[in-house]
Amino acid sequence: MMTRINQLPTLRVDPTKKVVFDYKGKDYVGAHGDTVATALYYNDVRIFGRSLKYHRPRGLYSLDGECSNTCMEIDGIPNVRTENTLVKQGMKVKEQNVKGSAENDMMGFIDKLDFMMPAGFYYKTMHKPASIWPVAMKQIRKAAGLGVLSPDFEMPGKFDQIFPSADVVVIGGGPAGMSAALASADKGLRVIIMESRPWLGGFFDYRTFDYRDENYKNNKQLYSRARELASKVESHANIRVFTHTSVVGTYTNNLVTGFQIGKDNDKFTERYIEIRANAVVVATGCIERPLIFENNERPGVMQVGCVHRLARTYGILAGERAVFSVGHDLGLEAAIDLFDLGMKILCVADVREDGQNPHLMIELAKRNIPYLKGWVAAEAKGGKRVKGVVMTTLDGTISRDFDCDLIVASAGFTPLNGPLTLAHAKLRYDSHTNFFVADKMPEKTHAAGRMLGLEDSLSIEASGVIAGLKAALDCKLMKESYGNSDVDALKSEIDATVAKQKELPGPARGSKFVTAPVKGRKSFICFDEDTTIKNIRQAIEMGFDVPELIKRFTSAGTGPGQGGIPGHNLPLYVAKYLAASGAPPKPTTVRAPLVPTLIATYAGSKHIMMKRTPMDDMQRADGGVFRKIGVWERARYFSDDFSCKKEIENVRNNVGMLDGSTLGKFRIHGPDALKVLQRVYVSDMSKVKLGRVKYSAMCNDDGCVIDDGVVIKLAENDYYFTTSTARAGATIEWLRYHTRFDGWDFYVVNLTDSMGVINLSGPNARKVLQKITSEDVSNSAFAFSGYKEFMVKDTIPVKAMRLGFVGELSYEFHVPSSYMVSLWNMLKDAGKEFNIQNFGVEAQNVLRMEKCHIILGQESEQRTNLLDLGLGFLWDRTKKDAKTVGAVALRQAENDPTRFRLVGFEMENNGRAARDGALIVDDKVRGYVCTARDSFTLNKAVGMALVESHLAKVGTRLEIFEDECGGERIYGTVVPMPFYDPDGTRMKS
């Protein structure tokens, strides 16, 4: 265990609060505020895992999760970015992609086999002969990859989603972002600021250098300036702060998405945040551009910010003897600060010829730190961790060895442009800063801070204020109530701030240096995918000249770091290599999510919301076995016998009750109501008579059946109609869509939830009904296909229909949902003497199948038209003026011999029923079984199938192929439909 510097004012950990966690089965102790990575480092863990391809040891590098080096398995979740995850009591941490341990990985030898794996080797090898691939694939999958997910793993934790709106969203909680947020909020606008670290402060947060560095003394230090800004932001009534929140996407219309990691007492582990804003400020700052040299990812090589923040934020000195090889002033500043904290700095090499901050040069000299201008690290020495470094001049002519345990390396900066490019900004290469900068900004989006190349503190803050004011102006211009004079005042304030900023230092010149003068066999441009400089050269020599294509071919930048490590270096290197062509560097494409995100976070909380009918409780009390059917939970069975023998026999011989409340129920009225029905129903709806029920169907423009149901005329241009359960939600939309050009006057009301339906079926159904109503319900007064309205007990208004879906004497009662329970109980009481029983959806399914009544979706699929189903009789061809939906297509399909036909069949030799969905075959697939069951009523197995028309003739033998039948076919024979009560005497009497 290392010693922690406990007394720093910049610390973000509380060393007095211990956190005990488990690493590979042993207890380790970190401090409250530590990330998993810093806590492990504090416990002397240097090798965090092994790399994807070569199994090279990998360790702490950036401290912001820009590469997969420190991805580990935590509490069973693989690939957790430990640099961004706070350590918690009892956490279980494991290394991944190792055979043995990260320290001694038996697959480590692969590193020596790199000569066998040039760029794109997996595209070119292992495919001849073809039989080698399955073997090779198995081995590669075992050796490569990162974490492993168990197939029955269940994600622990609570996930949530929020959808806030704001006037201005500020991405980035550094000095520029905070200044922007304050500027907008002070103008009365509602601001949201998002920061990926658990605190606001950005790159000021860990620095003790002077805020105003003119005279370099006795002024405010940067970290305290950051905390001053942060407390202003946090206490501002108009600003909502989301810390530990990474932005993952930005979109047109100023939509910003991100995810937030919950704190100890938050009610969520992670939550998805989707913000709709009027204006966006992007102040994401910079990450460091990696310096490329031999073994540049050996544990012990770290970026400047990583080493500096380890010390200042976490109180950990990363090493004892350090060599710096840098290309920017933050590197010099870190060397000075770390020297003061007690680190031995052997030398500071700087790739820049000039442009260094003279104050920093003086400070280096004061401390006698050797400064090597024009030198660079060429090779890290040491097997599993850094033991030394070879330094060389930029041309590679002179070199010197140092014994050290830490190499602090950084070539320059990379602006985090992702949020801009995702929102369609176009990037341009700027040779002064060496950055890709946004040329054309998305609407109402403004950039600020370091990503513009600014390095001066005051200038960074000023750019934030300008962006905040501009965003405020965007918002004000959208609100009409805002006066012109206010807009003018805001505009002149912006002009004044811009003028003031012009007096401050502008964008700094950026270092263009990418790679040390080495061959590059072990110089890694991408850590996630183990891509070396040599691989990039191989790709270029094979003819790839665009960074985006090289990225695809070598897979550089396609790992969990989302291009954080190679994203900037790759285009710079390619441009340099192809310098003769004179083309400027072209950036690779950035895509959402900008930061790897758990799918669980996108999914949010587990919310299963099923609709329940008014009869739900009572059916459950009666032993109903419920299933999810569409948006509903319905009683499918009423016993453990899923063949429903008793339920079926009771309906056939006695009387049963079914809850049909899930049917879609609608009323349409108004002067043009009939025209609407003529448009969507295939039948002639003008023929619907009062007191009668009309069965009809709706088709789509291809003539395919989408719905069937009954229509009842209540009065002139006033109809009540039902739809299938599945179509209830879309019916009104359908009606209005297909009449949208007509300007018809009609009203349509969805009564699906306000009306319940009870189906009373069986030979004794009339006797039961007679007991609850004085209405004449005799066969002559209330015949098949009849409709009646009456009151039960002078209270319950009942719409009663005489139907025959199950093939027996059958009534359907439509009553207001609130009366459903009462009516149900009355029928149950009345039916007691006949031993009335519930029947469920499955019993109904068998009953109606025996009668060959179809259920759409079972006897049809998307391509099944009205004629295929034998329902052509419903279609009225004479109403051309109605422009009936589907009629044109039906006319065109009428004589088409290639269409399927619905047929009934019975199984041969008393065989069991074929499974639903089984295929009808000969040497080809010729159709499929829609529904087939062993019929208790008929004592044989029967079913319906959709088959090619040449198989539709009665007597045709059908060869049936079932899944996993092992070549054993079963056979059926086409028979006439319906199977049960062909004359319909039972349902009509």
């Binding site: 979109y251 219309n253 939509l255 939309e733 209005r736 869509y737 050009f741 422009k883 009629a887 065109q892």
Partner: protein, 86 residues
């Protein structure tokens, strides 16, 4: 996801509340003298403009009305009615 749509009745709302109803292809053609070819084109063929197109949307989670908007299909944003259509 980022789309907002202005419903003529409810005003500017989140795009999640709406369902797409296809390009505006005009009213249904008369059935007399309609060739299968023309019908198929009316039902199935689209212009798929990369740019501003007029299209139908329904406010499914709101008032339920069908209406047209103009949308820039490249940027996926609702735009004002072009001069030519006014």
């Amino acid at each position: 996801m980022s789309l907002t749509i202005t419903c003529p009745i409810c005003g500017k709302r989140n795009g999640y509340e709406f369902r797409f109803g296809g390009e505006d292809k005009g009213p249904r053609p008369d059935e007399d003298s309609l060739t299968p070819q023309r019908w198929c084109e009316y039902v199935h063929l689209n212009e798929c403009v990369a740019g501003v197109q007029k299209e139908w949307w329904v406010h499914k989670d709101g008032c339920g009305s069908w209406f047209t908007i103009h949308r820039d299909t490249v940027m996926n944003v609702e735009v004002a009615k072009p001069e030519a259509d006014r």
